[in-house]
Symmetry: C2
Subunit: 114 residues, 2 copies
């Protein structure tokens, strides 16, 4: 979706910088901490934890810790979290249709407005 999009250019955002991407990562089923960390390249454990905690607090996902050695924790979207896919998809569709035009307008920014 917005993966190829420069961060400041993203015209539509869901929550903070990572929320939407985390939702995408969880779309197909529960994932573990490191399973999230890998596709979200560059996210530090601190920020990932913060994002996950915030989303858990807001009821967007659940955190399940299994009492094993080594520890295993799984994150899974709730119905509420999954419901965000709808507006997210609307945003994606907008991007597909119009983002190129926005970027072009941004490039062509040298007084030749008219």
């Amino acid at each position: 979706m917005f993966y190829g999009c420069p961060p400041t250019a993203a015209p539509i955002r869901v929550g903070d910088k990572w929320t939407a991407k985390i939702i995408r990562c969880l779309e197909l089923g529960p994932r573990r901490f490191t399973e999230l960390q890998r596709p979200l390249r560059g996210i530090t454990p601190k920020v990932l934890t913060e994002s996950l905690r915030a989303m858990e607090r807001d009821g967007l996902l659940t955190r399940t810790a299994y009492d094993e050695i080594p520890p295993r924790v799984e994150y899974e979207l709730t119905t509420l979290g999954r419901s965000l896919l709808e507006p997210m998809n609307a945003g994606c569709e907008w991007s597909r249709k119009h983002l190129a035009e926005l970027m072009r307008a941004r490039e062509t920014w040298h007084a030749g407005t008219s």
Copy 2:
């Protein structure tokens, strides 16, 4: 739309803090600088200018200055800017349906996670 929503709770954002609200203000037709400033209570001229310039640069709106005394400037949505109303409405609909649930989850945040 998100007007009654605490800033950090807004699950969906368009551009920066003010972009979506500016689009709403321009939805029904062109507006002047101060006509935008009034409904967007609390926005400083500096920030309003910054937001408008960024949106103009991205091709979301046009700025028309009339050479009069006193000066008159009008901002108007482009087709591209207007197209953002679609995903914005999707976000609004999500809020109407689910924001209360999110806020409730946020309130009920005292360890009783199960």
